[in-house]
């Protein structure tokens, strides 16, 4: 007897070509998929394209998706892979144009909500430091801090050992710590992370 995950019946409906079922899953997962894609690509248009392609793949590959496990790891995996591909392509183009750093800085300022203006300097420093992480490390940071997934879940989504996730997170923390200590104190407060 197959025990369906709560998303299971919707996936079964997808297999029958039910677009309304796709709509229900889209409403449930669009925010997390879009947020993850945006945090990795740092480009709204690219993130929307990733979101669209992820859900179209969900629709066309529904017959291959298990109904007895949560759907979100599958969606994260597709979105991360698509974002990864987009970033790599952009990096190749930016290497030729030599304007990647400036675009990253502009993008990081663009997404700051107004209510966080008071902490802008510190948060900008963190956001810029995260943006400067190597892509593989940035993805782990996004999934861990933004999506609040466990190391095990991240390992499954990225298809890498849990130890690799841990070491990437360790490297990222050390990088962020050094980046922040180089910039701080901000607003008269000295941060020590020891």
């Amino acid at each position: 007897m197959v025990i369906h995950h709560p998303d299971g019946p919707l996936i079964l409906r997808l297999r029958e070509g039910d677009v309304d079922a796709l709509g229900e899953l889209y409403e449930k997962y669009k925010a997390s998929v879009y947020r993850t894609a945006l945090a990795i690509t740092r480009d709204r248009g690219a993130a929307e394209d990733v979101l669209q392609e992820s859900f179209l793949r969900l629709f066309t590959h529904a017959h291959r998706i298990r109904t007895d496990v949560p759907l979100h790891p599958w969606l994260y995996r597709v979105a991360v892979n698509l974002s990864y591909t987009w970033v790599k392509k952009q990096q190749r183009q930016q290497e030729r144009a030599l304007d990647g750093v400036l675009e990253g800085l502009v993008a990081s300022l663009h997404f700051l909500p107004e209510q966080w203006v008071e902490q802008r300097e510190t948060q900008e420093a963190i956001q810029q430091a995260v943006a400067q992480l190597p892509l593989g490390h940035r993805v782990v940071v996004v999934l861990f801090y933004l999506e609040e997934l466990s190391l095990k879940e991240i390992a499954e989504i990225l298809g890498i050992p849990e130890g690799t996730v841990k070491s990437r997170l360790h490297y990222a923390r050390r990088f962020l710590k050094e980046a922040l200590e180089g910039r701080l104190p901000v607003g008269g407060v000295v941060y020590e992370f020891t």
Partner: protein
């Protein structure tokens, strides 16, 4: 690399989490994304996906009979095609027997 090298998780982790959530937590895709997805999904197959041979055959027949002006000859051809699809062994046997 040991756990002693790690910064205190409390402050750094909290700051990173807050910074990322401040940057991305409230973001939403535009409504046109769903419209595009829906349109593409409808285009690429809102009809049920056939699973078995019978369902594939009926799907093929359904496709054939959806033409705007299907005639008797086309219908016969479609049914013959369906027969070939459903009973390939019989057709193979007949072909071999008569051909031999």
């Amino acid at each position: 690399m040991s756990s002693r090298d790690l910064p205190s998780p409390d402050l750094l982790d909290r700051m990173v989490r807050e910074a990322l959530q401040a940057q991305f937590a409230g973001v939403k895709p535009s409504s046109r994304v769903w419209r595009r997805i829906r349109r593409e999904a409808m285009r690429c197959g809102s009809r049920p996906r056939p699973r078995g041979a019978m369902e594939w055959a009926s799907a093929l027949f359904a496709l054939r009979s959806e033409g705007p002006s299907i005639g008797r000859e086309e219908l016969l051809l479609a049914r013959f095609g369906l027969g070939l699809f459903l009973f390939p062994d019989v057709v193979t046997l007949m072909t071999l027997r008569f051909g031999w």
